[in-house]
Symmetry: C2
Subunit: 299 residues, 2 copies
């Protein structure tokens, strides 16, 4: 592990979920061609695949039958992708570019983008609840996985965070609003990814709690670094417009605490995350590398 290559690591697990998308998000009806095309466009638009990598890496602490994990890791990435499509809509963040490419509604129009998001959201639950593609996972674990995904991403999670984010756009916000947004919009889904690994790997309740807490911290650090990069990066590095948060008066960490203090906070969170998983041995090495990557990344 001394020469851990994060780019290759993410690419490896990203390849697994892309294979899954290739097989399961397909078009067998002429009437649906445009819709499936829009869903696939965003799925294959070249994300970091951080969330799937977290599911695999967390799972790897407990078990090693990684193929079992692929539908779940793919479902999480589908759900994440839907949230990006809807967040980019004109009524929301109104973004033209994402990952260096035109956003979904720029390519397919607003109606199709809304439906592609709805379709991906629905599909993520379909995949997690499908006995045929998860023959080696008990019903009770699939149910736990689907239930906790919904909790992490519904009104008390990601959707609620996005709502608060929209509400804050007038530039009137304080530290507690920013914490609320980041925790709900970003951290809870990332924490879920980490807990999901423990669920699928038959971790104990304590394991699940530990992975969730590790995830909450790296998730918040991830979002703080995102906020910082929006200020310090270039459009080319980031694949989307920079400085847009400030222009919109968005509730961000640096807007409240400044760049330097925000970076210190992110570093502290990563230290805490590493401490939480220090009880695990070598199998947790990928989770440690991801924690470090989150703070060092440039896009």
């Amino acid at each position: 592990m001394s020469e851990f290559n994060m780019a290759n690591y993410l690419k490896f697990w990203g390849g697994k979920v892309e294979e899954f998308f290739e097989t399961y998000i397909t078009c067998d009806d002429e009437h649906l061609k445009g819709l499936i095309s829009a869903m696939r466009y965003s799925l294959f638009a070249g994300g970091k695949r951080l969330r799937p990598a977290l599911v695999y890496s967390s799972y790897g602490i407990f078990e090693g039958y990684f193929d079992k994990v692929t539908p779940f890791a793919s479902a999480v990435e589908m759900l994440h992708t839907y949230s990006l499509i809807h967040d980019d809509l004109p009524a929301m963040d109104d973004d033209d570019m994402r990952r260096g490419k035109p956003t979904n509604h720029k390519m397919y129009g607003e109606a199709t983008a809304i439906l592609a998001g709805d379709g991906l959201l629905t599909k993520s639950f379909e995949v997690m609840c499908n006995k045929d593609i998860n023959p080696d996972v008990e019903a009770s674990l699939m149910l736990e996985a689907a239930f906790k995904l919904a909790v992490a991403t519904g009104e008390n999670g990601m959707v609620g965070g996005q709502f608060a984010d929209m509400e804050s756009e007038d530039g009137v916000f304080n530290s507690s609003v920013v914490d609320f947004i980041h925790t709900n919009k970003t951290s809870k889904l990332i924490a879920y990814c980490c807990e999901l690994g423990a669920i699928l790997g038959y971790g104990s309740d304590e394991d699940k709690k530990r992975m969730r807490e590790y995830g909450m911290r790296i998730g918040l650090a991830f979002q703080i670094v995102d906020d910082i990069l929006d200020i310090t990066s270039t459009t080319q590095e980031l694949g989307k417009d920079v400085g847009s948060d400030e222009a919109r008066g968005k509730a961000t960490y640096p807007a409240i605490h400044g760049v330097e203090q925000s970076h210190a906070k992110a570093e502290l969170l990563i230290e805490e995350a590493l401490e939480i998983i220090s009880v695990y041995g070598k199998t947790a090495e990928p989770c440690r590398e991801i924690a470090k990557f989150i703070i060092e990344r440039k896009n």
Copy 2:
């Protein structure tokens, strides 16, 4: 059953799911107030509650422990409500009125309406997969319920139907497109409601198939009657603008086959539906009444 009162019957089961919404769709965080309010606005906007009534009625053929069904019937109504909110958006049907009231985005703005829809969609899976509120349903049945809900409402179901509906708005369509839209947009979710009753009531595979086929027929009849009412009804009776399908060049049954032939088709479907459930005795009486109501309704 000779004096079956459909209005009271729908109101009774509607009351059950409204009690559920009252308890489970609540606001405990100041940041989410506007979002929860938007979700509740559409949930309580006074629908017919036909889908929940179908879940209860189908279940009643097989078992009588109706309280067990409430979270599932409520989840279906939440999912249906999300679809109405998204369908009404400016980028989709751009409707100002629904059930005699301003549509969600007219009340709360587009961003909140999109998120309220996303929240309700996610919540419906959360409710179906929640062991705590479904203590008397086995994990495998909950999983089957959630999986089939996703199939019925995803890209190969409701979302796909809405996509084809949007695509057809230029007025260029044929009989096969109309069949595709109605089957996917409307019939599959209604068929699912009927099958769900059999799932929760420990029906056999044959029972499930039978209820699904009954549901496909009453679902298609329901949509054909909807199309006819858009032509023959008044705005007051319908609670939304009439004649809007034709104005938009929408793919409807009457546009292809005329009102009279469409009505004959709906009647035939109801006859077939009644024939399919003729194997059941008195416990299927509510399902028979609903089938008849569908073709006789005035709004």
